[in-house]
Amino acid sequence: LEKEGDLMINLKINGQDVQVPEGTTVLKAAEQTGVTIPTLCEHADLHPYGGCRMCVVDVKGWRTPMASCTMPVNEGMEVQTHSPAIEKSRKTILELFMSNYHDSNYENGQKEETQFMRWVKHYGVDPQASMAPIPRHQVNSDANPFVWVDLNKCIQCTRCVRACAEVQGRFVWSMAERGFDTHPVAGADTDMLDARCESCGACVAYCPTGALDNKMSMGAGKPDKLVMTTCTYCGVGCQFEFNVKDGKIIRVTSTEKAPVNGNHLCVKGRYGYDFVQHPDRLSKPKVRRYLLEGGTKSHHTSAWDWIETEWDTALDVTAKKLHSIRSEHGADKIGVLTSAKCLNEENYLMNKFARQVIGTNNIDHCARL
């Protein structure tokens, strides 16, 4: 939305003078003055929508309050972001949301607080008194193995629709019906996977209420700590946070702090984390017994067993073998295959290792298809 240009606009926010470039929204301008305007449908990564009306502000001379997320600044504008009338409007809006919201485990202390729950608490709306008495939709209404859909918590902010279209480019979600019956549907009201969903979980990451959630992490609770890490699946180098509880990874959350990918992840990064703590995963090198203890190679003796050992020992064995092959048969009898799970830097080093240390051009990579 923000335009290039040198033209600066002067306005007043809560009596404070602000100067921002032309095309900036009132919401962004307020952020610059340190004022936080409550939002739900707005997200920095997505196009502004102006539907939830949480971000309404009073603008002097205007008939009604305006949604600050969609309103560009004008010269000489005077904005009030937290007048008593505006705060009352926001509370009414949250009460209206709540009257159409149903979650039987709203506050059991086990759940992570969503953006919606934070504002409900902030504005002192009583969830028990104003929550819809009966659910309108089936809980867990989609068969997608990764995404949990519970439209009883949906506030029709369309962040899932915009995330799917603008971040992932899959256009799975859209809004169906109108008025009070408006709700998100996948494709032409089919299952997400039928609507060509890639299960990237972007809709989950952007959902402010938990209407879309991570199916594998339902009921897992709050994490003890967040560990920022780099994805091992490919060379893009996406970063995300492991949510760790009692030493176990309970979910992956994407974060705008990640320099490469921001909130965007693919299905492997967001949901393919069970290998990390799988009992079958090798965490130490293993070497055939005959290589450690001498003897001959045979499929039918205990000499063929895998023996767990230290890295130094294993690397020594490997180096010795490579060296003997090269001196007995020549460097071109050795080939090196590297992996997409390595970093670019590691792959570069393997290239150097193959061509300069070993002296062969037999170097390839699993992703060079």
Binding site: G51, A85, T92, L96, F97, Q156, F180, T182
Partner: protein, 191 residues
């Protein structure tokens, strides 16, 4: 249009009163009908009671009386029209037409419709009247477009000019005009 002898498109000079429009252009109320209220400017316009029928119809006088001229449409209602029923029908229209983008209109039209419907079914509560007014004012302030902003106009006028009639539904459990069923009916076709 409404309970008058002539319905159709008429052109009148600015500043004419509603009484003159009914008696001269619309050729009077239908036999047996007496004027009770009129809605000016279509569904989102104002509902004005008989007491205001001598207000000159121009922007200045109407604004002073808190009435909107709107599109110029006039709906004339006689003594057999119940204000609660009329507002219920209007809100049914608004909740059906709401596009569903912004919260005050999407949920507000539904919740106010439910409250007015409860009044027409004899299930109304006095404290809900204040809730209706509060919701009406928030819908007017916070909605995205004109539909949500003006959907509350009939509600406000209902409680401004016809509060006694509405309270009769709640306190006495009767509909003075006999229009409202005053019982909870099964909806034949859920909207």
């Amino acid at each position: 249009m409404g309970n008058v002898n002539f319905s159709g498109v008429i052109e009148v000079p600015m500043g004419i009163t509603l009484r003159e429009v009914i008696n001269i252009y619309a050729k009077g109320m239908k036999p047996g009908s007496s004027f009770k209220m009129a809605q000016t400017g279509g569904s989102s316009g104002s509902i004005i009671p008989a007491a205001l029928q001598d207000t000159p119809m121009d922007f200045e006088s109407f604004r002073k009386a808190g009435v909107s001229l709107g599109s110029g449409a006039l709906l004339i209602c006689d003594q057999n029209v119940c204000i609660v029923d009329l507002v219920k029908v209007l809100l049914q229209f608004f909740r059906f037409e709401s596009c569903g983008k912004c919260t005050p209109c999407r949920i507000g039209t539904q919740r106010t419709y439910e409250m007015v419907e409860r009044i027409s079914q004899g299930q109304g509560k006095l404290e809900e009247l204040d809730k209706i007014l509060e919701l009406a004012s928030e819908m007017e302030r916070a909605s995205n477009c004109g539909l949500g902003q003006t959907a509350s106009a009939p509600l406000r006028d209902m409680l401004k000019h016809f509060r006694t009639e509405v309270e009769a539904h709640i306190r006495l459990g009767i509909c003075p005009t006999g229009v409202c069923s005053m019982v909870v009916e099964e909806e034949a076709t859920p909207a």
